[in-house]
Symmetry: C2
């Protein structure tokens, strides 16, 4: 599936180097940073770098060449010595990596989702037209939601993150009966999208799907200038 590769590039527009930076080069870049090459020109032989990485001098030399081609480091070569410094672009790469690890260990109550803004009427929108839900929602979340929802379409891997919502109760809007129809409990989670406060709503008895529905006080499509197909980053608090 070559498409997957393209999609990944698409998801990381601020990272033009990614296509050349594989995990091996990232590891090498990290090592150089740990040796001090992030802040200043580091004088290091390829054999010293190699032994620090647990690889040969030749392999370290090759990696330095590849990283230079990828724009992650700059080198000053003198006759018998090289000085290595990580570029701005290389630092960005490392920071991106760092932030991912930080999410794992520090943002344990948050889920970060990435998906496409999509049209289509979901159940959530229907629920948010019921006054009984709306009143509970206003009390619990502190704002009255706009009557529509923003749908976000997820691929399989992103959708699997929704499993984390199982463990958390979230904010429950109690079900009720009205006009002979029964409405079940609905789960809400506080969320943010491009910094804007919003909430994710999910029928409590449901299996996970590829769509999340987001509500906010104002019409997000307008306030944030969202068009169908835009890639959105959503942060959910669990």
């Amino acid at each position: 599936m070559l498409l997957a590769r393209f999609r990944n590039l698409f998801f990381l527009p601020s990272n033009p180097m990614a296509q050349f930076m594989n995990p091996i080069l990232i590891e090498t870049l990290k090592r150089i940073a740990l040796l001090g090459g992030a802040k200043r020109e580091l004088e290091i032989s390829s054999s010293a770098l190699g032994s620090s990485l647990g690889v040969s001098q030749q392999a370290a030399s090759k990696r330095l060449i590849d990283m230079e081609k990828a724009g992650a480091v700059r080198r000053g070569m003198s006759v018998k010595r090289q000085r290595v410094k990580i570029t701005e672009s290389g630092i960005r790469e490392l920071r991106r990596e760092y932030l991912e690890y930080r999410r794992i260990f520090e943002d344990r109550n948050r889920i970060y989702l990435s998906g496409k803004a999509a049209s289509g009427v979901g159940e959530g929108r229907y629920y948010m037209s019921q006054n009984e839900y709306l009143e509970q929602f206003g009390k619990a979340l502190g704002f009255e939601p706009y009557h529509g929802t923003l749908n976000i379409d997820l691929d399989d891997a992103e959708a699997s993150k929704l499993q984390s919502l199982d463990a958390s109760e979230g904010i429950v809007l109690r079900g009720f009966s009205s006009g002979g129809r029964t409405f079940g409990d609905v789960k809400c989670f506080k969320a943010k999208i491009k910094g804007a406060e919003c909430a994710v709503i999910i029928p409590k008895r449901t299996h996970y799907r590829h769509m999340v529905e987001v509500v906010a006080a104002k019409r997000l499509r307008e306030t944030l200038g969202i068009k169908d197909g835009d890639i959105l980053e959503l942060m959910i608090e669990i």
Copy 2:
């Protein structure tokens, strides 16, 4: 150089899995953690994982098998579904990685060195037998140093970290003349070794070498139970 590999293992005794966890598997483990597999059993198909990693279903499947062999994940296989959870050992691996990145971005005023306790009389020890240095040292560092120094032997890569000390003035002990001999300025840096306060001393006009000399209020070899050849982790504040 196969030796390099062994040395690395030696430097990381708390990481018995490292020999099987290459950068590719670490990357995969990180992705699984980001999808939620660190906290709970994650239900994810190998093709979804693959597309999230930008590799094929087959490659993702292989990586899962390899990680399971390495003890980094545990899997529950049902007929058409697998559930993946990162083991304690896998979490440790990720945390080790995380801490390295944190050092890069958060500990910008610290250097972490790893080396071997060594015998031998260095210049530092000689300097620390001069009262003029000792008095200045006591005022600046807040403790009177024990009359000996602990030497730490560094390999090439670790020694290159000492270049960071160039940029920083450190704590300068002024030179003087005594008995017809001239003593130059000496640089000190606050440091810690196994939690104990100490200091690194370096002649100001010197090129970097493979040895650092550490002084402390008490004899570190005794208080910390250090023998020649022990691997020591030293943290220097710059």
